[in-house]
């Protein structure tokens, strides 16, 4: 076998050499024979003649020799390919249309597939990634669907859930890192020692954390990612044992992670121990997860998710028996669900990606139908040529294999363009915000995609060739040589098939159009939701105070006062304030509030509310409207007044039909001493915290910063005009007070609203793009089929005109045909749209899946396309001159 391949390879490589050798060898044979014949007495001329005659036809012998060396199939392939390329070059419009269709459809699919593959299909980069799970706490009846896990949860479960081989807690945060003068706020992950053990990958050099490093006194150790290590040390080994300041405290480097280590979508450059106090670990803090800390675990080999869930449920139940808050937690529907880590991480984006891939496949289907139609028309145009070649001895197998070869050549060429387009599409995805998707940074062009593209092209080539091959075989039955191309059962069947393809195309395009319409309508309705404040001309930024310098409330208050004073004196600044959280910040954690005198209805559980601590003129800066009473101001914080402001949702929930002013509430889920209660002094417009499409009215409470301080806050500044110099001015104002304190996350509120809509805008844009391409393809397809049908029926039309038919009648005939195709396509398409739109229900906002307005609107462009695509052919038909037609035949 190997020797055969080698000999074939030699023959192919040294093709010229092979031919020369063969000629020399045969020549030698004939010369020798001639000599022998001369020696036996024949005259030389007669001897040469005899020798050649007996040798046989030289060409046939040579051809047989080549075949013996396995060269034949390659020669034929090359000849077929040359022939196909020549044909394609003869019909440039067809070829370019086909290539563009293939490139667009495959490019769109590859682009979406790149995202789907990186995010959904590829497993996480850890050993046995399917065994990784995450556990969170949920209090659905309190409106808190997800609340992370608490430190107490970790210590209570560690080693006590047999289905877990290990369990770890982590918390994404930030810290000021770097040497003095070159400090920057870096994303940091705080982890328990078993974090790397659970993932199955840890430091490439050095060690992981130990349990002893989990207290505040001993936690000054750090593990670097390889990217961060490169900044300061040329090799990982050099970093070990060195120190790096984090929030002003020197930390010893004990390990460096491998270069390709990345935990989910984490941007963290440094890992530090998740230290805690004994109080944090106690049962009183069991329910203070607060969404910033997450629990991950690895299932023990053989253990199932259901077993783990049962064990966690049983432990929760037994712990709750000793918990004074048990009744309240039960009322809130407390549970700790366990879900696969990968699936959980990408849950928000998965339906969108699958929907988009389905849309792209639909586009491919439309493109394929279009190509099939164009190829059929082309085959019909060549029916006579095919029939002649058949008559001249080309076998059916030969003609059929030629069709397959030709079509595959076309799809492969198209796929190369499509792959290039896909690579460009991946760049488009990143401008549409794909990198911010979970695992989105992994989206990249890779050989897997190219291979997928080529495979798809091969499959498509085979599928597209089938109808053409079928047509050719049928066409032979009716002797196309003698008859006109028109007539015969084959061309009728082919015509029906072409019409069916146009109908399918119209239907599929309608599905895409209506889906794109619903997504844009959802986007429009989401963007129109009032956020509760006026987002124009508001700049926001984030500050995180290092605990070392800002240990007391008074230092924090003093900082705020200086900053707000300084900002108030900036030209053009209308108002400035601070708050511990701002709308659409990405943090939508909730906490409980207890309203004095409020009696829960039976079965009603305490609710979580968005809670903010504000200083300065936060409400004015953000542009909240005041509905009742007054705003909180800097004076409330300075005077330690126990007052608060609530939003309209909160007021309506607890005090329906009456004024909220004067009512009192406690922070947290328990009433405290009367002196700790806050009096409601104002009601402001309801806020959209998580997103503009927040499903429920959660309610919000605003406290004075002094009474509920925090180590991190946002600054909000409202300017009279949009000013690009405002951001540097804000940074300068902060640096004048504390040169080592960076302002991060600097964005206007309008930008925040804009990016909060990206998950809706990008899919809507892509769907619209797909629908547009589909519309274009349908226009080409309908036009092609109708023009061809005019061409086919030239003779008939000529005769009809000769018999007195008026051009308008002919035109009407073709318009009617176009309308019939449109009507059939529309009916099928509406049914398809109803199904498809039901499937994407979860992506819609304030739009019914079956929206008659959208469907009607989707019909308009498709009807226009069908109408205009038929205008030119119909016009051309009406201009056919009977004389030309009759003289033709």
């Amino acid at each position: 076998m190997l020797s055969r391949l080698r000999s074939l390879f030699r023959a192919l490589r040294g093709r010229r050499r092979f031919e020369q050798d063969m000629a020399a060898e045969l020549e030698f044979h004939i010369a020798q024979y001639t000599e022998d014949l001369v020696r036996s007495g024949l005259p030389p001329a007669e001897a040469a003649r005899r020798a050649r005659l007996e040798f046989g036809p030289r060409n046939t012998v040579e051809e047989n020799c080549r075949r013996s060396r396995g060269l034949r199939p390659f020669e034929e392939l090359a000849r077929h390919l040359r022939y196909a390329v020549r044909l394609f070059r003869k019909t440039p419009v067809f070829t370019l249309t086909a290539l563009a269709t293939l490139a667009l459809c495959l490019g769109a699919n590859l682009t979406i597939f790149a995202a789907l593959d990186a995010i959904v299909l590829r497993p996480l980069p850890f050993p046995n990634p399917s065994r990784l799970v995450t556990i969170f706490n949920t209090y659905p009846k309190a409106g808190v669907l997800r609340d992370g896990s608490s430190i107490a949860n970790y210590y209570e479960r560690r080693g006590r859930i047999p289905a877990f081989s290990s369990l770890a807690l982590y918390q994404e945060t930030t810290a000021i890192a770097g040497l003095p003068g070159a400090t920057a706020r870096e994303p940091v992950t705080r982890v328990t020692p078993d974090f790397f053990l659970t993932l199955g990958r840890g430091p490439a050099i050095g060690r992981s954390f130990t349990d002893r490093e989990l207290t505040f006194e001993t936690d000054n150790v750090v593990i670097l990612t390889d990217q961060y290590r490169r900044r300061y040390f040329s090799t990982p080994a050099q970093a070990i044992g060195r120190q790096i300041p984090l929030d002003g405290v020197p930390h010893t480097i004990i390990g460096v992670l491998p270069p390709d280590f990345r935990f989910l979508s984490s941007e963290s450059r440094l890992y530090v121990p998740l230290s805690s106090s004994l109080a944090d670990r106690g049962s009183l803090n069991r329910h203070s997860g607060g969404n910033s800390r997450q629990l991950i675990a690895r299932l023990r080999p053989g253990a199932t998710l259901a077993q783990a869930q049962a064990q966690v449920d049983a432990q929760n139940a037994s712990l709750e028996t000793q918990d004074p808050q048990a009744a309240m937690m039960a009322a809130a529907g407390f549970r700790s669900p366990i879900v696969p880590l990968h699936a959980d991480h990408i849950a928000s984006i998965r339906p969108t990606l699958i929907g988009l891939q389905a849309g792209a496949l639909l586009l491919l289907l439309i493109g394929a139908v279009n190509l099939a139609n164009l190829l059929l028309i082309r085959a019909a145009g060549r029916a006579r040529e095919t029939a002649v070649r058949h008559a001249l001895g080309a076998t059916r197998a030969h003609l059929t294999s030629e069709v397959f070869l030709e079509t595959t050549l076309l799809t492969l060429a198209g796929s190369l363009l499509g792959i290039a387009l896909g690579a460009a599409g991946i760049h488009l995805l990143s401008t549409l915000g794909a990198e911010r998707l979970p695992l989105g940074a992994q989206i990249a062009f890779n050989p897997r995609l190219a291979a997928a593209g080529l495979l798809a092209a091969l499959a498509l080539g085979l599928v597209l060739a089938a109808p053409v091959a079928w047509f050719n075989l049928r066409a032979h039955l009716s002797a196309a040589v003698s008859s006109q191309a028109r007539g015969g059962s084959a061309s009728h069947a082919a015509q029906r098939l072409r019409h069916a393809f146009v109908i399918a195309q119209i239907a599929l395009t309608l599905v895409l159009l209506s889906t794109a319409g619903l997504l844009s309508l959802s986007l429009e309705r989401a963007a129109a939701v009032p956020p509760g404040f006026r987002p124009d001309h508001v700049l926001t930024g984030q500050l995180s105070f290092p605990g070392t310098q800002y240990r007391t409330v008074s230092t924090l208050l003093a900082f705020n006062q200086r900053l707000l004073d300084s900002l108030a004196h900036q030209p053009g600044v209308l108002a400035a304030g601070t708050a511990t959280n701002i709308p659409l910040s990405g943090n939508s954690g909730k906490s409980a509030a207890t309203v004095v005198g409020y009696r829960p209805r039976p079965g009603e559980s305490p609710r979580g509310h968005y809670s903010y601590s504000t200083d300065g003129d936060y409400f004015k800066a953000m542009g909240f409207s005041l509905l009742e009473g007054r705003f909180l101001t800097a004076a409330d914080s300075r005077a330690n007044r126990r007052v608060c402001v609530v939003d309209q949702d909160f007021a309506q929930y607890y005090f329906p039909g009456q004024s909220a002013l004067g009512h009192r509430l406690f922070e947290g889920s328990e009433p405290g001493p009367a002196s700790d209660a806050f009096s409601i002094v104002g009601v402001v417009s309801s806020v959209k915290q998580a997103s503009l499409t927040d499903p429920s009215a959660q309610g919000a409470v605003y406290y004075p910063f002094a009474l509920r301080p925090d180590g991190a806050e946002f600054i909000a500044v409202r300017a009279a005009l949009p000013r690009s110099s405002l951001a540097p001015a804000l940074q300068t104002a902060v640096r004048q007070i504390d040169p080592e304190l960076p302002v991060t996350n600097l964005r206007s509120m309008q930008q925040r609203i804009g990016s909060s809509l990206i998950p809706r805008r990008s899919p809507a844009l892509l769907a619209a793009l797909f629908a547009l391409i589909a519309l274009l393809l349908t226009a080409i397809g309908t036009y092609g089929v109708l023009s061809y049908s005019v061409l086919l029926r030239r003779g008939e039309i000529g005769v009809r005109m000769a018999l007195g038919a008026r051009p308008a009648q002919i035109r009407r005939h073709f318009l009617a045909l176009s309308l019939r195709l449109l009507a059939a396509g529309a009916i099928l398409g509406l049914a398809g749209a109803a199904l498809a739109n039901r499937a994407i229900r979860s992506l819609l906002f304030n739009v019914a899946p079956f929206d008659p307005f959208t469907l009607a609107a989707a019909l308009v462009p498709i009807a226009a396309v069908a109408f205009f695509a038929c205008l030119i052919p119909a016009h051309r038909a009406s201009r056919i001159s009977p004389r030309d037609v009759l003289s033709d035949s």
């Binding site: 030698f28 044979h29 010369a31 040798f55 036809p57 012998v61 060396r69």
Partner: protein, 113 residues
């Protein structure tokens, strides 16, 4: 001219292998050698020799090398490879079995069966 027999399909390969097993030969020499060892009783169309040679070379049963003929011309010489020698042995045995079976069948006398 002696009476010649038509070649049975597949026997040309066997004859070529036999011919070159006696020493390297060029194509024309193989033709002569077959004539010699079969006492010129087989009719071999000259044109069918070379495709057979190329096929056998392609299968690795014979090897080719350019050399110089008796009358000082460049000629391509074929020789048997070990695989060819093995094949020749097997085919010869197979042929003999076949031939004796056919002979026995044709020599059968009525009444013996």
């Amino acid at each position: 001219m002696p009476k010649t027999a038509e070649l049975l399909p597949g026997t040309l390969d066997l004859l070529i292998l036999k011919a070159v097993s006696l020493g390297p030969l060029h194509g024309y020499g193989i033709l002569l050698r077959i004539g010699q060892i079969s006492s010129n009783s087989l009719d071999i169309p000259q044109g069918s020799l070379y495709p057979a040679l190329y096929r056998l070379e392609h299968q690795g049963l014979i090897a080719a090398e350019w050399g110089v003929s008796d009358n000082n011309r460049r000629a391509k010489y074929y020789s048997l490879t070990p695989a060819g020698r093995r094949r020749l042995r097997e085919e010869t045995a197979g042929w003999n079995r076949f031939a004796s079976a056919i002979a026995a069948a044709l020599n059968a006398v009525p009444g013996e069966g």
